[in-house]
Subunit: 354 residues, 2 copies
Amino acid sequence: MKDIQISIREDLKQKPDQDHLEFGQHFTDHMFLFDYNSEQGWHDPRIVPYGPIVLEPAAMVLHYGQAVFEGMKAFNTNNGNVLLFRPQKNMERLNQSNRRLEIPEIDEEFILHAIQTLINVDKEWIPSGKGTSLYIRPFIIATEPCLGVRAAHNYQLLVILSPVGAYYSEGLEPVKINVESSYSRAVRGGLGTAKAAGNYAASIKAQTEAKEAGYSQVLWLDALERKYVEEVGSMNIFFKINGTVITPELNGSILAGVTRDSIIELLTNWGITVEERRISMDEIYQAHKDHTLEEVFGTGTAAVISPVGELFWDDRQIIINDGCIGELSQQLYDTITGIQTGMVPDTLQWTVQV
Amino acid sequence: MKDIQISIREDLKQKPDQDHLEFGQHFTDHMFLFDYNSEQGWHDPRIVPYGPIVLEPAAMVLHYGQAVFEGMKAFNTNNGNVLLFRPQKNMERLNQSNRRLEIPEIDEEFILHAIQTLINVDKEWIPSGKGTSLYIRPFIIATEPCLGVRAAHNYQLLVILSPVGAYYSEGLEPVKINVESSYSRAVRGGLGTAKAAGNYAASIKAQTEAKEAGYSQVLWLDALERKYVEEVGSMNIFFKINGTVITPELNGSILAGVTRDSIIELLTNWGITVEERRISMDEIYQAHKDHTLEEVFGTGTAAVISPVGELFWDDRQIIINDGCIGELSQQLYDTITGIQTGMVPDTLQWTVQV
Ligand SMILES: Cc1ncc(COP(=O)(O)O)c(C=O)c1O
Ligand SMILES: Cc1ncc(COP(=O)(O)O)c(C=O)c1O
């Protein structure tokens, strides 16, 4: 493996108040950088003081959005260990995103090693309050200065770290979600399966309009027929109907969430039937009317489980489980956060010690 | 109007060889910068030496692709004037893109004034060979350092200039285009109508695959049914069938090209029927078989007119006009480039003198 050059900063930054950590606002003392050009491939891996980067104004990322990213977390356990949750999955997905956007692939093992090294350098930054963690953001940007539309020849991979507070300060809280019927996020043949920067730009306006109407998130429908459920802003979605758990299949326009995959495995192990298939809003509405819609929850790295208390769909209000947290949602949340923080035995070997 | 601060660089750069200008590779001595924050709005307009910019690694443009741009050209005329072609249209479209991506709107008149000021500062850079021009790239990026997905609070608008060579060194040259049937660029409700960075990232892989198969561009079909023609990589598309000119309507997923609009106006003035409507590949193939498919051409700022000599669609080769340039294509090209360079009277008042 290549050696990682490490330059430690002299004046460490003041750490933010652990009890009031807003998501993605504070960054640690260091970051990881790694460059790519056609001659040398990926080269010069280094940990340097966190600070501004210098880009040509013609850098292709700024014009054509050739950029991909990942999101994962490191947790402090009670007995002083630091755990990552299935980080290999994120490295695999980073390479899937790379392939879709024609960004040169990375050595997954090496980048994971680099991330672990960086976390070790900044380990004092990992918060230890309940529900807190260190958010890890690896990303790759096209740096070549050129206005032609094509894959760039030069890239930079960066990893930055951000201490984040508990997603739920007072235990799980059900959210209200607007089912989006005019805007689209992705379509088959597009970038939906990749964690590509442009997908998120496409979601901003719908999110704002949903917020203004009192909903915390948007549930995307398929762009083709606007009938089938896809995913939430940055979460996959699950429905418990009559004892069976249903989640949209990986149809070519949604992101394959690591949490989604973990939930499916857990439920299957628990003997609960999970169906990965197309599911329409009509079917969900019918289940609601039949009183068989038992639970709805989103899944993602940020919240782990986000119980849904209400879906608003074309003037129809679907209240789920009287707006309360479902039993299964709570159980999944407790199990996964328990594994992540070393409180629940990790029988599936999902965690990696830093 | 706000005053533009101008700092002229001391050591002017060496200008590139005017006879070998590759697109978007060389940049002039200066650039225009303009900042936005919630308190001050757009402020501090300035022309500074062209050079690297400094961004926080967490700048939202690098993660969520909140970025829009424009592309236009300045031309040297024979009698020493510098002309822009319908620049107000680009400013309007920039604001349309802004609204779609929730970027704060700009004062169109002021930015046009800033562009003109910048061109004046760097006017020695406008090449004067036949077919050459100064390409103008205004763009806006989200600079706020934050990992939350939402509209940023801080932005920078930049304008950079690049001298570009003749698109056709030896007169118009017909291109071969692959009709794309697996990848999608945009879909209704998405960002297709905006000149948003992410749209271009979505096109890279299809473009590469087309190039590898010997085609210079991709013709996108609608993502819903994959039947109807949308547009080419960075051009709109026109078909002349049996004397009538047909171009896809602005259906909510294609870009409203300035060249497209100009062509429609010219043709209408010339008494040629233009239909803006849905047009399927089936219809085009049928016209080809009936020998009524007379001409096909792409339109855009880069090439003005790009005659299409061949379309390749699901194993079917559609040769147009024996692979030669159509009469109307040539006439449109001559008229528009003539107006742009002051050789043809500008009866429609399309040009703006710098
Ligand atoms: C669009 C989208 N869907 C789903 C997810 C959930 O994925 P994961 O569970 O890997 O965090 C995310 C967040 O990463 C996302 O951005
Ligand atoms: C996607 C797309 N379509 C069409 C066009 C043509 O537009 P215009 O004639 O304004 O250059 C462009 C280029 O600007 C483009 O990027």
